[in-house]
Subunit: 438 residues, 2 copies
Amino acid sequence: MLPMTQNVSRLRVVIVGAGFAGLNAAKGLAHAPVQVTVLDRKNHHTFQPLLYQVALAVLSPAEIASPIRNVLRGANNTEVLLGEVTGFDLQRRLVRTDKLEFPYDYLVVAAGATHAYFGHPEWEQYAPGLKTLEDATEIRGRVLLAFEQAEREAFTSRVTPSLNFVVIGAGPTGVELAGAISDISRHYLQHDFRSINPTQARIILLEGGPRVLPVYPEDLSASAEKQLREMGVEVRTNALVTGVEPGLVTVGRGAETQRIPASVILWGAGVSASPLGKMLGVPTDRAGRVVVEPDLTIPGHPEIFVIGDLAAARFSENKLVPGVAPAAIQMGKFVARQIRRSVAGQPREDFHYWDKGTLATIGRSRAVADFGRFHISGYFAWLSWLFIHLFFLIGFRNRVMVMLEWAWAYVTYNHSARLITEPKEHDREAAQSKMKAG
Amino acid sequence: MLPMTQNVSRLRVVIVGAGFAGLNAAKGLAHAPVQVTVLDRKNHHTFQPLLYQVALAVLSPAEIASPIRNVLRGANNTEVLLGEVTGFDLQRRLVRTDKLEFPYDYLVVAAGATHAYFGHPEWEQYAPGLKTLEDATEIRGRVLLAFEQAEREAFTSRVTPSLNFVVIGAGPTGVELAGAISDISRHYLQHDFRSINPTQARIILLEGGPRVLPVYPEDLSASAEKQLREMGVEVRTNALVTGVEPGLVTVGRGAETQRIPASVILWGAGVSASPLGKMLGVPTDRAGRVVVEPDLTIPGHPEIFVIGDLAAARFSENKLVPGVAPAAIQMGKFVARQIRRSVAGQPREDFHYWDKGTLATIGRSRAVADFGRFHISGYFAWLSWLFIHLFFLIGFRNRVMVMLEWAWAYVTYNHSARLITEPKEHDREAAQSKMKAG
């Protein structure tokens, strides 16, 4: 039983989320005989691997984000709409947003993941994570303001205040953030201040487990930790955070408790899948990811695919496909292919993840790379990281611009994206109360 | 009687505001035997003439703004501090900010101007003006969201909703905004939507006076209006706005009243000087500008200079120096020179404004230019505008980047700065209430 559609000759595909997975599914369907609707909360696709560069003022938002409409401009069968999905009706085959309902014949859910605060959602306001452009400008503002406040304090009181940056979690994001703060305080800001010495800022990276980059091989973890220490980052492993409040991070419990003063606290720890996963009413794993079939559909619904960070897909006996961009891209392309096959009356295939290796950047000229049998560290790992990420950055223009920005910043140690911008809170609140009153 | 200073051998100069006037005063004192403190509410200098390009998604904030620290990095005698000035003590020679006091021997007040809502401050929330980067991203968000909402409505209801952009005030800012909306709806967004036709958006420019660009010669006003009409902008002169509310602009009174529905309302009208002018306790003009002596000081205080948009300086019998960037730059340089002369025991000079002509841009390849005896319009006026503004843009890197962005956008009709980003209101409010409670 097909839902009512205006154009019954074409099957409807609804894609929820325009991250790497959703966008690649849409691209793969651009010339297929289906009608595609892409729903996203934002009007832009964000190149998440470079988000930390926006957070630390190397790049500007527009250099790592593209309007979704722009990316899918060539796909005449595709409608992009701004909206937040609030639920699904699997029986009637409908996607619900706050106001509207969208019927589908095939549904692709690629809603991604967000930060997990280990049952402490109240920590988020004091320790922002890094998932969106807004997060990135928020972090940028906090980091730069901390230097400004220290300068003002030092100028007037003639006493140098302590300047501690605490990064919680030493996964790839935490390591990137800690390394980037080291870069800007040691190199880029060096000559900007008169009363403080930015190179004396402390950067403390806290990891609950025994080593940094826990999902990497042990030798690369060790190398990453060594590189971080060389950059002046204080790495503390087995340091379980038990409290986050304004200006203070608590580690450990009981007699072991340590209280670390912090000018800025950043969150690089857990990830939890989008709540949309649970709304599908099928089994999810501990992180909220939807357990999918070999063809990335959910049990009993061959018309519903779950892909990207939201999917718990197995790629060998006991290994899950990792939540990285290349996996999301592969899943998106795979699903587009399966929908094209189904429309053409061909049987489904199984998804196979092709692990091309993983890279984590640490800072200027520093990174680690795991290419299976080859593990590399330092400058060449960083160069690989650089070129792979530039290559995958969406849009030729962005690629060229980002390369120029980097070359400029690398040679001159000069960042011009170092802007602190704030939302007009007062105006917005006034507007809201007016509208409520009116 | 000098105030207490830590370094009595050096006189202290405090500069309030790092716009064109303040920044040029600071630059002119970089190698003078004085100690300079620059106070600004923002950490960045904004190149205001290009702000409308950020508002309409052609450029990114970082391309038209530079961190003040960065610009003044070479000035070892200069301290840049973030802070909002709340008052002056002219007797004790102190500048007050929320928490601190700064003693001065010479004071340069260059606090600029803001929008004037003609006694209706409540209109601001519905009709944002364009003075800061935050204003620009706010306007960008509203304009792009209007297209997104129209697309969603058209997609679901199959009825094309009306899409009206109303710009109030046809001074240079209003004309730029109206022209830029025409550019993006007619050219850049043309192929991005499926259910609406962006080229059918209406753009209505309302001017209370009898002609657009009222401060320009009449022939250029006429040319500007003609160019606007060719771009599809509906120009309505002698249209006095009497009401602004969400989605609606009211023009005229009584039987003549017109009500214009508006998806987005933008403010390009009046300008009023910073309230800091009045705090100096000397005569101000109707717009709140401080009436200054021929050497740009205030009466009875040869140690206090007021410059830039905040100053009402006479440059001929009955003409005021206009509130444009070249005038502010000239004033800043002049004041730095006078302070250097005073320190060296030389007498003051009088300020002479050198009018190099004025340009107003209207849109892609369209502008008007008033070079005294020469009036030019259209493509060559636009080229002049382009090169003059690129030349004065601060920082070589920004100049090159902006030129590349423009060339790219001009040739391809492709804007990648078309991002809608929002402040995290909920988080901020939560954080604030927490902090108040805590």
